[in-house]
Amino acid sequence: MPKAVMKRPHDESCSLLEIRKLRIEATSYSPGGAPQNTVIVDDVSLKLEKGRVLGLIGESGAGKSTIGLASMGYGRGGVRITGGEVLLNGRNILAGGVQGLRKVRGNKVCYVAQSAAAAFNPALRLMEQVIESALLHRVATRAEAERRAMALFKKLGLPNPETIGRRYPHQVSGGQLQRVMTAMALCSEPDLIVFDEPTTALDVTTQIDVLAAIKDAIRDTGVAALYITHDLAVVAQVSDEIMVLRHGKMVEHGETRQIIEAPRMDYTKALVSIRSIEHEEKKPTTKPLLSVRNIIAGYGGGAVKVLQDVSVDVRPGQTLAVVGESGSGKSTLARVITGLLPPLSGSITFAGRTLTPRLADRSRDDLRELQMIYQMADVAMNPRQTVGTIIGRPLEFYFGMRGCERNARVAELLEEIEMGKGFVDRYPAELSGGQKQRVCIARALAAKPKLIICDEVTSALDPLVADGILKLLLRLQKIEEVAYLFITHDLATVKAIADSIAVMYRGKVVRYGPKTEVLTPPFDAYTDLLLSSAPEIELGWLENAIKGRRMESAGN
């Protein structure tokens, strides 16, 4: 589809988008207290030429979304643009007032949000919403706009492109909604689209399809884009250049190849090398520590079966990684092993003993030797207890430690998780995300367990912090000889930490064995899809992956 003829005279000497010395501040109101000012973005400048894609990357709080929205003159919540200029085709849009901004938004610059499910009005049909801005800005007549929308639906690989517009948002899956939102952004033929983490909320096998669809659409329409994400591997696939941000400031800016192959700044280097943890796979020993046999489990008295005939082993001092997408049953497996969800049939042996199905019937030693760490560290700790109490409680409870003895051991544990004694009196709210997860690890270790179940422990963390947690877990495994059952959806994590792997799909284990075996072809169809979908920091990875696929992803 050729780009429509530009109606306005275009000055070739200026960039499509130029941001100069942008400064953004936010005011937060705490109840009863004086309003507080924080600087979110400070002194960021960038230039974007017509038809180019710039990736903005950084951790949470880096200000990347804020910059993206600033290109439309928009501040979310109490956010204000307090300095700098945003030039679109050479004109400062911030100087045009509300009227001027309205002419830019949805017309020259469009936005694709992270959660399309929330970004669509639940009460209106999709087509109404997709063509809304094209009609509003008189870019096209209704018939034209609808025709254009259908063509875009088709180009983005949506099923039934002629009729999908008649559906309501809740009638369409998440991956499809994300494509509809991209179509919505493209429909008024803007010069620039801001993609704000458009694939982050999707499962990995769906993400690759949406990513490919977005990339094709950008290429074919010649639109320029700001692509915002925290995932370097994703941004490397779609952008021509990358800007690395941290704490609202620019760290490094360059061509994509330069950033991922020859980063200049230390922070960028750390981001690029993130998933290269060296972990030597241990050979399976004969006697398993935990042995799960033929587990069938479900909710509602067996009406919904979530696990079907699952059998896996965990060997002492080793790591079994259970990988799968949402809905594969991997977290249910953890609930069954801990006794929170008694299985319908099957057995679990642990350290030579048979575990009772129900938590309430288990002996204190069984409970002690099998610990758990959660995904969301901030809700896994009682907000009214100090770090000392949180780590000290298992010591009291299992070993009857009191007073000095207990305090000494708490200090030791804090040492082990690389946090100092000063943290003993802190409350969870006074810790950073990574520190919270470390305290949870210390709490599990305090029980001197033989096995720790780690349920997505790194997926809520920023990549660098997650990396630190993984390294810590590996180090602790060496010292304490503890085994891990590591539940995750992220293959890079699996490669970094596992000795053996179980791949789960719709409640079944589809592939299981030592790491090298599982990761060596020939693959079954699902493992192939899963492995080929995990993005890698490598130019041209996306095209190769799409070419080599055998199975359609579940999201379609």
Binding site: S30, G32, V379, Q385, F397, A429, G433, A447
Partner: protein, 284 residues
């Protein structure tokens, strides 16, 4: 990641003007209620002059429909009103929160039965059900407290059950269960400390409701019975004067309003200071 630190450093804030006014009035009313016999110029039932005498140096608020000193009756009225309302609130809180917590933690049939029964009670407007029940019960203070406390405990039950159920579903409670902790530890050490702040702010609201409910009942002639005096009853006694331009009834009515607004202001302030459920330190 610049969390915490900043708000902690500020230390204690000044009491906002609204809360200060609220505290002043609450203090005043409590003082009157506590020392009623010592500070009131006349005994409760003594007739000191003509009917509905205007305000004067001798009788600050004038006299009532029987010629009794209105100020003295206001002071004794404070005692009755606050005492009954406080007793009813205490009853509704104890009953509601114990049952609500137990229902949330125990679950199962107990939770089902209790919750459905509370739904049923709440499907009748409180005032109407109160009137229906009071039509057959003896009219005395104990009945009044029991009826008010029991009816109002449904609201406390709902709140505390919801709060406790929310907390009960959190990972840290699951972690305690996996550790093998018993039910007492889970209720008192894990759930209760996190449920306190919403419950405390609810306490103020329930007290206001009790004051208004009691006053409405007394005003309708079904609450505190003469010769006892509470503020709602005093409005009833003096209401006939209004059409003759005698404002005596407005004084106890205004006192009820002042008490309710004051408690509201103070509860609002306390709520704002302690909302940070995320933070362990209440003074942040």
């Amino acid at each position: 990641m610049s969390v915490s630190s900043a708000p902690l450093a500020k230390g204690r804030r000044r009491i906002p003007i609204g809360a200060a006014i609220g505290l002043f009035f609450i203090g005043l009313f409590l003082f009157a209620a506590t020392f009623a016999p010592l500070i009131s110029p006349h005994p409760l039932g003594e007739i000191v002059g003509d009917v509905w005498m205007p305000m004067s140096g001798e009788h600050w608020f004038g006299t009532d429909n029987l010629g009794r000193d209105l100020l003295s009756r206001m002071i004794y009225g404070a005692r009755t009103t606050i005492l009954i309302a406080a007793a009813a609130t205490a009853l509704s809180f104890t009953l509601g929160s114990i049952l609500g917590f137990t229902a949330a933690v125990v679950g199962g049939w107990f939770d089902m039965t209790m919750s459905r029964f509370v739904d049923l009670l709440m499907s009748i407007p409180t005032l109407i059900f109160g009137l229906v029940v009071l039509s057959v019960l003896p009219s005395n203070v104990v009945t009044l407290i029991l009826v008010m406390g029991t009816l109002d405990s449904t609201r406390v039950y709902r709140l505390s059950r919801a709060v406790a159920a929310d907390i009960n579903a959190m990972d840290f409670v699951e972690a305690a269960k996996l550790r093998g902790e018993d039910r007492a530890w889970i209720i008192f050490r894990e759930i209760l400390p996190n449920a306190l702040s919403p419950l405390v702010s609810e306490l103020g609201l329930r007290f206001i409701f009790a004051v208004l409910f009691l006053s409405a009942l007394s005003f309708l002639g079904l609450g505190v019975q003469p010769p006892q005096a509470d503020w709602g009853g005093m409005v009833k006694e003096n209401k006939d004067g209004i059409v003759f331009g005698i404002s005596a009834a407005l004084i106890p009515a205004g006192a009820i309003a002042a008490l309710a607004i004051s408690v509201n202001l103070v509860a609002d302030w306390i709520l704002n200071r302690t909302t940070s459920l995320r933070g362990g330190r209440g003074n942040a």
